[in-house]
Symmetry: D3
Subunit: 321 residues, 6 copies
């Protein structure tokens, strides 16, 4: 269900009528020279497809905007080695939360299990002020509802509903394991840094379209997250040293200035958090790689190259070939 | 007055007794291998000098810490092409504000004139909410008392008391001039960005020693400044678009990720602010360059090279040679 | 008039016959493997369009070359999301200067007003030798006729007839304004540098096609301009110091070796000129940016990214959407 | 003969039936979303062409794999400015060595002459142990049979059968010439380095398809070559110093870490070898450049830019235009 | 015992007579201009000290060479903020292994415990061929005797006797922990890579002086280690895929070409190994950082910056201040 | 003779009186803070030595300037591991050309032989216009007198009298040899480029002090040389293509923008010239390397690292050790 795009690419439809998509991008193309058509990127659970409106565009334009759920009447068309839709009619539809939940790609893990893991990690912190800070962030219902659904990235890694939660917990769990090897480490600071480092992504990426928000493009998740935590700290009795260490973990987690961190790691905990965050971002996209006949995967976006997959690792569906 | 360091370098003293200095840096050197001596950097209005405590160090160590004003009994010593002090006694002294004011290198401009210029610029903004925001920042007495004294950098540019104020006003005035050439520009946003872009330096650099603070090293003036403004905005009726534009100006003013900006300029105003800030940082250290016989200045720190000064520009004191 | 390319993109023509274009580029494509077709880029005042000759190519090839004005018989074709022309016949035509003037994209400013501004700036210089040098360059009729028409770049900034003049004057005027903030500065040197820094572009870029010339590709505007000025100086009584400073301004105006400057700025005037030149090159392309529905412009070529345009800045024609 | 691809590009065929090609690449495209087609790159002596299998793909897929020689029934199709083949039937064929030899692009030089030159260079070495090492490598029949056919690269330089031999001899001959200018040099070490530096390419690149092998991608020719020589040295009485110098020449010949050398040149001979290898790699692709009407070549892949070719150098076939 | 250098720095000796040191470096300085003196770096368990021979240098020169154990007659001298020795007499002495063992800085861990851990990890591998390979490497007595003593680096990280063993086991243990988070992973390949990745350091660094060997400088530990394993594999029945994966882990463990890896990681296991190796190299030097009064450590060599140490982490000896 | 500096370093003088030196550098040090002393770099044939004037500096300052030959009364002093002179009196002396010729480090080759080689190369060019151009440059007496004496660099390579001539001829001879391997090449253009590429160094570096001139720092040898040739071409009937190719060779010979070339090589000849120039610059400083006991040379400045010299290459004087 909600996997029409996959079916179109399997040539199962010559036209569609009434199917549901979400509008990820909407552009008037060649707008300066005559505003000829509207180009769209549409998404459902099974993928992304391009679509174009050639006729009635000023009329149809009124019906919807980026981020809306729409139903279509359209013809399928194979063009430049990709399938596209030529839209004849498009209308906005209202969908309830249950449907939205089913509609987008989603973590394979159980959100409720992840939620329990998250709070178990929080409750495992020793320092009461830090525990209180973490609870004050994650027990805020409005925030946590968004957090549970947020993807961790547009396309690089964990790019699915629940991806942020999955990545956050993965980093925190690994951090706790690794900390044992490098004692003394302030594990509470490290865990707090791990759980909070990416919370700004809740507002940086629109979970309905996986697009960056204006705030995401102009402020960014590092500073947004810093600000969210800074606000919460006002009501918590952290020492100055604890406060600055936790905030520093957030600001420095990209590790290098050129990756957008306004500070590079200057505490043991911030450095370790950065190293684990990098590890998780690079390893997740490799987790389910499959290879072609010659043992090589497609290019992995975040790493910029293909990976060798030995024959014995190949999944069954590929061995059909 | 307070120019003993210059006099020492002019060989006017073989020993000093009771003169006043500020302790910029204090280190136990070779601490791991026997804690042999305390190394200091001392400052007065006329410069910086190194000093060492070889005797009674654990006793004298108790008397003072970094940032204190001290009076000394010491011998002068010419060592490795530099003058240094060998300290025999050192005691902390309390000094009142008037004396502090006279003690450190200071802008040649009149702080009161600069203050008037600053408020004239603020009052020149058209948008009432922006004007209110600026006033709420600069009319806060405690902040403004610090702002008036802050240097703009440790050593790169405007590294003197009042340097931050001087740089801030310079950027704002130039911004207003240049904006005319690139209309349409939202001059109020630009001026607000100019006046606020470096305010975090008030807490990044310790105005008594010109050292970076812990907060400066771990959070940095860009994010500190962002947070100061974000707090003030809570009580001001700015539109979302205005808020995000002003905050973006602060976050993006270093222009490139590798210079510590968590965002690069993505509005016309933020780009122009960045270009003018860069210009002012590079031009200020050139303002009073003098050349040696062969027409070349000393190496300018922020630019990393010497500059050619034509003969006709040379100041009189050099033509004595 | 001369805006057929815009009309083609607005679907107003299925074929054209006798319309005029200029040939910007002409290539035999796949030449090694059978010389199958001639690919062209054609330009008129309203834009650029691709065209192809599939039939009679060896015959039609004789009729014209790069840089010629031609008239066509051709069919319009929408291909790979772009309009192109399939040429049936093509002939060179001779056009007089008046027509050429109207034919290409052009500064919106009045060339005569710019000319007056230019000579006013020259006449404002205090040093008689420098003034004489500037007059000797800009009063040479053949040069000045070309200078008035030259674009400042192929596509990066001020890429239109008169763009070089407009950019040159903009830099000079801003330089004069900014100089006041950083006195002492030798304003005459600075203004001379500003007016002369890009004159080599007159011979680097072919003003009929906006392509780089062979000399442009092999020598470049920095050295061409250096040479033009060096020649003129022979007849002017500049001091050695003045000569070397003005020439250095030209050689160093790109600011960094990696941008093709054989020297980096080593005088106050050369540094300031470089900073203003950079500012003008980056700000000009932003001057008339328009945004799509989501507040973002198209990618600005010289800056490599899109810019945020607040809603209130949008031009009326876009608010129609 | 075996130049059908060139003929297709000259529009001499609308369909082909029974012609022979080698399969350079074979991919199931969009495999995840429905396995719609098989994309191929086919090669014969005259070039490379793309091909697609849309029908019967699971059946035809069984018939062949990458690296096979195949004969086709297919239609030619001009698509996106390139010719392609739409395959109706494809079958593997067995071809004998003579045919393979004629089938792929090949050095214009006579392999037997090159072989004599190679052994003349080996026999010219003074040091008996080094001569013995070189003979033990190049007299091994199985290796030498491969060496004679290997290309020196996939596409960058000397990308044809015999290219490795040609490049190797070119580097060795130039090395001997240049060594005279920088005496004292250990010419035997230098020549040994020259002859051995790229021998790992025999196993890095598949000479039938010019693709990288798995070993090529995961180990690379530098380390493969190191290992081949290290093995041979076991049976030769080289001094430790000679051994380490020859192996260092191989490991360091790319000159910089970022080009994949695990060591940078730290002997006179290794540095000179690197400089000559670079020279030959950059000069070979320029050897037969031709220019278009405006004197400029196509972009040279290894150099990333077009080159100016003066009119008088143009080949006759181009002057027809 | 063997901690004279520390005592010299604590001013406990004005001269020494008969104390033992190891000669890390020995240079004839200003050799071209008169061969004035011999400069030495001497080491004992407690540190490194410079020494100079001014008199009898050609005579004393005969007595010893780099890497020798020597006993001295010398005066201590404080020069340029460092202690040095002015040597009057120097003689080589023979020392037995027990003394050597006590003489150099050493891991704080128990080598026998580490040995057991190592073999436990080896015995934990599932694949019998891989286990056999690992045993064939580490059960070779001569190699293992060296391996147990090798430092992991000259100065960057784990720069002490047993450091290589400690680092190797640390990487292997962490690898096994982290692998669980990214299944499917071939844990045996990963563990083999972890245990073997740095074994070349046994021959790259001279364990008596911590200097690089000639082979270390000209071949390097990556290729030396590759070769050691390649030799062992000859007698083991690994599949081609297993062999190439393990060797690739060694060649790619520095992760980027510019850090000297001739290949970048192209398998999941090689990438994870690289990430953990980097983590361990950066975290080890932070393990026992201590801070000065202002909470900042000395600059950490491998990271190039100081680290913040919160007050509560300070060691007792520093809180004495 | 004129080798006092070497003798001082051999401890043969405690004071000197009347010896001759050339003043390479002269600085008032700490000028801003009291103008305490004059620091000098002095040179004779055997090396460079630092010197200081502490007394009578304003008086002695009048006696000489940078570039003068002086005679001294001074004490030798060993300070910070280097010898220096403490000057008591200093006076300018006039020296005639013969003495100057003997005074500075000089090529070991015979200038007259080099001159003949140079003109032989010129006379070997086929194209009469190019030959005429070369003769017009090198037959100009004033220029050629300077050219014969110029060093090729301050310190990087060929840093001695006659070094420019030696380097120029070396590049030209190698170019002629290598050209044979890459025919077709326009050998006359290549040779002209080789002979002319560095002629600007005649005016970039002061041959009396090996310091950069003001023109050298502000214009640079690439553009100076371009201008010298451009002037000469006025009177020669070169085709446009020949002119632009020769000038391009000069402008592009550093090969990359970041090394100060305003254009990168875009002709076959310019690329080859660049490659050979690089080779000669890097190989010359290696020509006479000597190694210490452990086979390693001192760091080679232009290459930034030490080189391995096998035992058998060591010169006899070192084997004395």
């Amino acid at each position: 269900m909600f996997e029409i795009i996959k079916e179109i690419k399997e040539k199962k439809h010559q036209e569609i009528n009434g199917e549901m998509f979400i509008v990820m991008e909407k552009h008037f193309l060649d707008a300066k020279n005559g505003d000829k058509y509207i180009g769209l990127k549409l998404k459902d659970k099974s993928g992304i497809i391009e679509a174009k409106i050639w006729k009635n565009l000023y009329h149809l334009h009124e019906n919807f905007k980026e981020g809306d759920f729409v139903k279509l009447k359209a013809k399928t068309n194979y063009y430049k080695d990709n399938w596209q839709l030529i839209i004849e009619n498009i209308e906005k539809i209202e969908v309830d939360e249950t449907i939205k939940d089913e509609f987008l790609p989603k973590t394979k893990k159980d959100i409720e299990v992840l939620t329990k893991e998250l709070f178990a990690i929080i409750n495992g912190t020793q320092n009461q002020a830090i525990k209180k800070l973490l609870l004050s962030v994650f027990e805020e219902d409005e925030f946590f509802a968004k957090f549970k659904k947020a993807p961790a990235a547009k396309s690089m890694h964990h790019a699915y509903i629940g991806g942020l939660m999955e990545h956050t917990i993965s980093v925190a769990k690994i951090a706790k394991e690794i900390a044992k090897f490098y004692m003394p480490i302030d594990t509470d600071i490290l865990v707090a840094g791990a759980l909070l480092h990416d919370i700004g992504k809740v507002y940086e990426i629109d979970a309905s379209t996986f697009n960056y928000t204006n705030e995401g493009k102009l402020i960014g998740h590092i500073v947004i997250g810093y600000n969210l935590v800074k606000e919460k700290i006002k009501n918590i009795k952290l020492s100055n040293e604890q406060e600055v260490q936790i905030l520093h973990c957030i600001l420095a987690h990209h590790g290098e200035y050129e990756y957008g961190s306004p500070k590079i790691p200057k505490t043991k905990e911030a450095l370790l958090l950065h190293l684990i965050d990098t590890m998780d971002s690079k390893m997740e996209p490799l987790q389910n790689i499959q290879a072609n006949e010659t043992n090589w995967s497609e290019s992995i976006k975040i790493l910029g190259r293909s990976f060798f997959v030995p024959k014995t690792n190949k999944t069954e569906e590929l061995t059909l070939f």
